[in-house]
Structure formats: structure tokens, C-alpha cells
Amino acid sequence: MTRLNRDSIVAICLLVACGVFIWATFDIRSPDYGVLMPSTWPRVILAALTLLSLIYLVQSIKAGPDDVSQAPDREPGLAGFVAYWRNPVICFVMFFLYLLTMPVLGMLIGGILFVFMLMNLLGGWQPKQLLLHAVIAVVAVGAMWSMFTFALEVMLPEGVIYNPYAS
């Protein structure tokens, strides 16, 4: 059996997602009034999406296995995969941690730490760089936070550290 190409895998994932959402449309309550039920429009979209995903799957199967010459220039195996996607994964994980720690650190301290750590992880940990990254993080996030807090009067999350009484 020929190996599935990456488009086929995406198409299958889309079809599974369509199945889940179609199933979820049966949980949508219908009122006694109106011609267009709340579940009708999502079902129309999902029917179109399912059809398009099927066409995509057929097209991808017809295209055959992935062309190795057009594959991304990366080392084989898991180590190569991780090395290739390292930076985006770091960004996702750091942003995830930033959001997770926000109730404690708040947006100012959390934001400075997020920008500082992200710059170090993406750019390097040399002592000179550390100093530069720290200055950039404090100035950039501090200025932005001040602008929103004082000029635009937006209440940004303070965090338990900055304000122990913050909810």
C-alpha cells in the first residue's frame, strides 16, 4: 500500500472534525418560531465542508506519496522534526505559559518575562544579549502597558504578585 501523503492526512482530520461538528449540531435546540433553525446554517456549511474535504482527499490520494525533493530541508527522524519546528513550538509553549501564569504574574510582569524569555530562547543566552533583551523587554512592554493603563484607561490584569487583592 502506498503511504498516505500529508494532504491526505489533513483531509482525513478535516473529515473527522466535520463528523464531530455534525454530531454537535444535534445538540442545538430548535425554537418554535422562525424558518431558519439555528442548526440549519451550520449544517449547510458542514455539508459543503465535508464535500470539499472529500474532494481534497480524492485529489491528494490521486497525487500519490509526497515528493521527497519538495519536502522541507530538515534532518530525518524525530530529532530533525523537533529541530525544524523548534522556534514556533517555543513561541506556542511560551505564550501558553504566559497565559497560564497571568492570574499570578499579571500582564506587566508576565509580559516582560514572556518577551525576555522568548528573546533568549530564540536569540541566545550570551551575557551581552541578556542585558539587551532585558532592556528591550522592560522598555517595550512597560511602554505598552503604560499606554493602555494610563492613556487608554484599560484595566489590564494586575496579578496576585503586583496586587495581592487582585481576583
Binding site: F21, G34, V35, P38, P42, A48, F96, F148, L152
Partner: protein
Amino acid sequence: MFVDYLAEAFLHFEQALAGLWIWKTMLFMAIGVAGGLIAGAIPGFTIAMAVVLTLPFTFSMPPEQGAATMVSVMVGGLSGGLMAGILTGIPGTPSSVATTFDGFPMARAGNPGLALGLGVWSSFFGGIFSAICLMTLAPQLARVGLEFQPWDFFMLVMFALTITASLAGKHLVKGLIAGALGLLVRTVGEDDAAGMARFDFGTDALLSGFDFIAVLIGLFAFSQLLSDVRDPAKARQSLSDQGRVRARIDHLGALREIRKRWLVVLRSASIGVFTGILPGAGGSVANILAYDQAKKASKEPEKFGTGTPEGIIAPESSNNAVEGGALITLIGLGIPGDVTAAVMLGALLIHDVVPSPSFIADEPVLVYSIFTAFFIATFMMIFFQSFMLRVFVLVTRIRMYMLASVILGFCGIGVFALNNVTFDLWSLLWFGIIGFVMRQFGFPLAPMILGVVLGNIAELNLARALAIDESLTPFFTRPWSLFFLVVALFSAAFPLFQRDRGRKVWTLFYLPFACFGAAVPLYMMGGVPRPVIATLVVLYGAWTLWKRARRGWQLDARDAEAVELKEG
């Protein structure tokens, strides 16, 4: 009647100018133009991204001031791309790709000042032309839009999504999938008509749905930044490592050259406006199309690519004219012409202003503020270009990873500020991941963004249409609905036409049959002007068919080499 219309327009223009002509708005506009110029100059940062990131700042401003600031960023961004393209050979935005073809060779040949001058002044004239078209055409389009009924609006949205997807080139199916995904995302949460929960999966957070600005920033800005730092080596590079970035703009020399080639400016700006009006097609299509047309019309096409002035004038006049065109459909019909206009729509929605055909009549001062801001920002752009060139030199020394890290931090603060809800930050993250994965798998994001923006409009109009008449027949029998259906079908076939043009005989029938198909609903509209236009369209189609029949249905090899229109 025309005099009355002019007097009314002048009155609104005066009111808008009085509203904008205060130091605070002028300052925000100046910062917007300067920021846009810098953002546009940085490769990897698109204009839409700059406008998206400006959105949270406009939240606390009055609608006129907010719209003027965003228009300024847009105008600045459209002109900023040329600096990087001409001086380093790397286009700052997809809208200035064609500018590098001749701009960079001219700069390397020792004329960077003239190349920059040509780019700056072409952008200026393109922008002014586009602003005039915006002021004159948007009210006319709005009048046509007042004829639209729910069936027509629904079909217009379907056409907008189809044509945007068709600009994904050979990946039409991926474009359509992206559009459908955008529509689906917008259905999450309570529906507008009955207030019933949809796809909440038992969580309260999903009941109010995804904030559309958080989705936009995630899909567009977040995912773009991740793509920019994907390669560790490139992420640590700065732009100044890659070329000469010092020059002084030769304004007088450029104006002399442009005066000799005013026809190129006019033609390219017209291409830009027309491309902008088409939903989904933006500057990245217009600049290539205008460059290609300038080359075809030139007496010395062989000089293109070596540093000819036309090669800079054409793309720069067209890309600055695009946004005027995109705003025409936004202001006239409430349908954004491209992603940047979609963000503008988002900004207006934040202020509870819903663009529609009655937008000009309901909010004349706001609409004329947008028109006026377009003019003022274009003049500001000329003033700031010379100054921002020095700032650009400084910005090019910054490493990409530093910019990306800081802007990711800004995204977080900006998105939270919209609604003061932490869930929006999670939406930003999830849609950032979705956008990044979609980019990696070759899915265009523009149809998804338009799907998110237009999803509610489509559903609302479908509900209204079915409430009036439960039958689906009016979708095919009402002239405007049929018109949009016909053009949607032909736009869906456009990628196939592009692929087979000059190679297969069926492509010879595409344009004539598109003309015949579009003429039918125009005849159905009645009156005098529209049947006359329909007759002209039919005659053009018949003449094209006759010409091709006389040549014995021979395929033209030049068509096979024609430029592929694809939104970047």
C-alpha cells in the same frame, strides 16, 4: 440634482475636515503613517498585520478618529514596502514584489535616490487617484446596493468567498475549505436570531463565541510572526546584512520621469482600483498585473527587469490605488474588498457602526472622514518618506526574533484590551496555531478571514430571505442574485482557466461565455443603462469569439506564459 449632490458632498467634506483637523487626530494620523511606513518596510510584516495591530489602540477613540488612524496606517504600509524592495531587493510586503524587479537593479546601478523617488511619487499619484475614485464611486455603488434584497446580499457573500478562494490559484479546494472554516468559526456561540447556543461543548466561555478581532490577530499576525522566526538562522538575521540601505530621495528627478509617463500611472492606478473592488484581490495581485500590463504596452519590453522607470511606476501606482478600491465596496456595500478592509470593517463594528448600502446616508460625516483621511494620509506619506528612510535604516538593524517577540507581547496586551476578557487571549493562541498550521499546509488565510467577517451577514440574510419566501427560487430568478451566482461560478472556474490558458481549446470560450452569462441578469434588471451595458458586454463576447473563430481556434502560446494571478 447633480449640483445638489455636489453641495451635499461638499458640506459633509467640510464637516469631516473640521472633525479631523484637530491636533490629536493629526498626531494619531502622523504616527499611523510613520508606523505604517516602517511596518510595510519590514519583510514579513504585511500591511494587514500593521492595521490589525493598530486596532486595539483605536478602541477608545471616537469612530472618526479611529478610522482616520487606521486609514493612515494602511496608506503608510502601502508605501513602506517599496523602501525595502528597492534598497535591499527583498520586498517589504507582497504588494511591492514587482517593485523590486526594476527598483533593485536601478538602485544597484547607482540610482537609489531616483528609484525611491519614482516609487514614492508613483505611490502618491496612485493614492490620490484612488481617493478620487473612492469619493466618486462609493456613493454610486451604495445607490446600486440599495436595490439589494436579502437573496442578493447572501449571493454577494458567496461570490466574495468564491473569488477570494479562486485567488489561491491551483489550490482552489483549499481556498474554499478555508472559506467554509471561516463561516463555521463564526457560528460558534449564541445565534443572533434565536439566541440558541451552538457548538459550546458545555463550556460557558464558548457561549459568546470567538471575538472576531482576536481570531483575526491570531490567524493573521500571530501565525505570520511564527512563520517569520521558523528558520533559526534567518530569525537571528537583520535586514541590513542583506544590502545597501543608504540613499537620499531624488524628488525632482522622479517627478520629471513620471511626467513623461503619466499614462502608465493612470493605467496602473486604474488596475489597482479595479483589483481592490474585487473581493479578495489585493495589492499582491495588482502590482504584478500592473507591471505585466506596463511591460506589454511598452515599446522597449526587453528593458524591464534591468531598472526601467516604468517597472517601478506601474506596481507602485497600482498597489496604492488598491485600498481605495477595497474601501469602495466596504463603504458602498458593507463587503470588504480585501483582508485590510476586513480589519477596517472590524474597527467600525467595534464602534457599533455597521457598513451597508445605507452607510453613506446614515453616517455621512464618518464616511467623509474616511475619504478625507485617505487624502491627508497620502500627503503625509510624501512628507514622512524622506524622514522615515533614516528610521528604516535603524529598524533594519533589529533582528527578526526581537521584533517577533516584542510584537507577540503587544498582541497579548492589545487583544485583552478589546473586551477585558482572558478567553480572547486563549482564542488568540488557538487561532495562531490554526493559522500557522494552515499556512504550512498551503491553505490561504484570506478566504477564512473573509468567512469569519462575512459569516454573520450571510446567515442573517439567508434567514431574512427565507422569512420572506420559503422557496429557494428567488436566489436564481432575482437579477442581482443571479448576477452574483454567474460571476461566482466563473470565478470558481478561473484557476482552471489560468492553468489551461494557451494549452487547451476550452479556454478560448471562457471569456465570451462569461460575458454572455453576466449579460443575462443585466438584461433582466430592466431600465435603459443596464440593458445597454449588457448589449456592449454581449458584443464584446461575440467579437472575441468571432476573432478566435477566424484564427481557426488557434491557441496563443503567449497566453501560456501570461502572469498567474494569485493573492500573496
